[in-house]
Symmetry: C2
Subunit: 200 residues, 2 copies
Amino acid sequence: PEQATEVPPLGFAVAQLAGVYILAENRDGLVVVDMHAAHERITYEKLKQSYADRDLVRQPLLVPETISVAESEANLVEHSGAALEQLGLVVDRSGPTTLTVREVPALLRNADVESLLRDVLADMSESGRSHRVDDASDDFLATMACHHSVRANRLLTIDEMNALLREMENTERADQCNHGRPTWTTITMSELDRLFLRGR
Amino acid sequence: PEQATEVPPLGFAVAQLAGVYILAENRDGLVVVDMHAAHERITYEKLKQSYADRDLVRQPLLVPETISVAESEANLVEHSGAALEQLGLVVDRSGPTTLTVREVPALLRNADVESLLRDVLADMSESGRSHRVDDASDDFLATMACHHSVRANRLLTIDEMNALLREMENTERADQCNHGRPTWTTITMSELDRLFLRGR
């Protein structure tokens, strides 16, 4: 039937639940989306694609951010400037234990810059400074994606929710978050009907 | 906490699903209400209370409705006028196989009068004409309640949904429909979280 083909796979948003889940209606029934996980995944895939295309657009911060770190971390940054730049981060060492962040990936312009950098530094320390960034880039990008994603309790409008659903449909591997958990699930009408002992 | 006490047991409506279920959010998570079953139950309890109070308000039909029936059914009505009146139905025999409905319970003024009467006649035939209406009145009232209830695919506004939730909270035995099935159920946040393998 014509009407059925108009409903996209993840359906249309109907509400947000507890600031955590998006509820949508599709042909099968109720779609429940973990909005943080879904958004994180979309951002990650975008970052990965841009990184692969050497097209990770950077955006200068209006006010460069100065961050105190351990000396070992400052050393790490000094020796990894080019690698960080490939990841979209322009960071200078501005003192023995001070870093200054000047540019971030445009995709992450709304992120908390300090915690973003700290997490990337933690990743880099873990993977070892001698490790080529390319090998670990997926981890770094995943870490960065996490900082951009919709946080719990952010209220979304129905339009924003639908935009996220459409993006999920157009993103590869959007079914799983970066940690391998599902980003959405369906509670079908027949599962609901069973809860109500319908049709018995 | 103060805020928590403000959420009513069945929560606040957030959406309608597939024209069948009301979705609401309460302190536990997602509330799913079978809107037809819930409304039927509320109507039934109201009819029962009015019947017990001898206060079943009738409403004259603007245009009395004439219905063709079997002769046995017409006989039944002729001998049960008073009993039917107690149920809120004023029905005359207007021919050997013809009945005319003049008044219906005010609560059921929007019901399909013909199918309402046919179902009540079926109940009466089944329970036997000699049977006192009082003994079977609950069955009759349940049958009648069914005719008034919100049908599937009737779109409700959020306000109408909330009104129904509040009525459910104020109706005895509103947890079960007239057939003993649940009228609502909860999918808790932890059940949802489990679907998303959260917290593992």
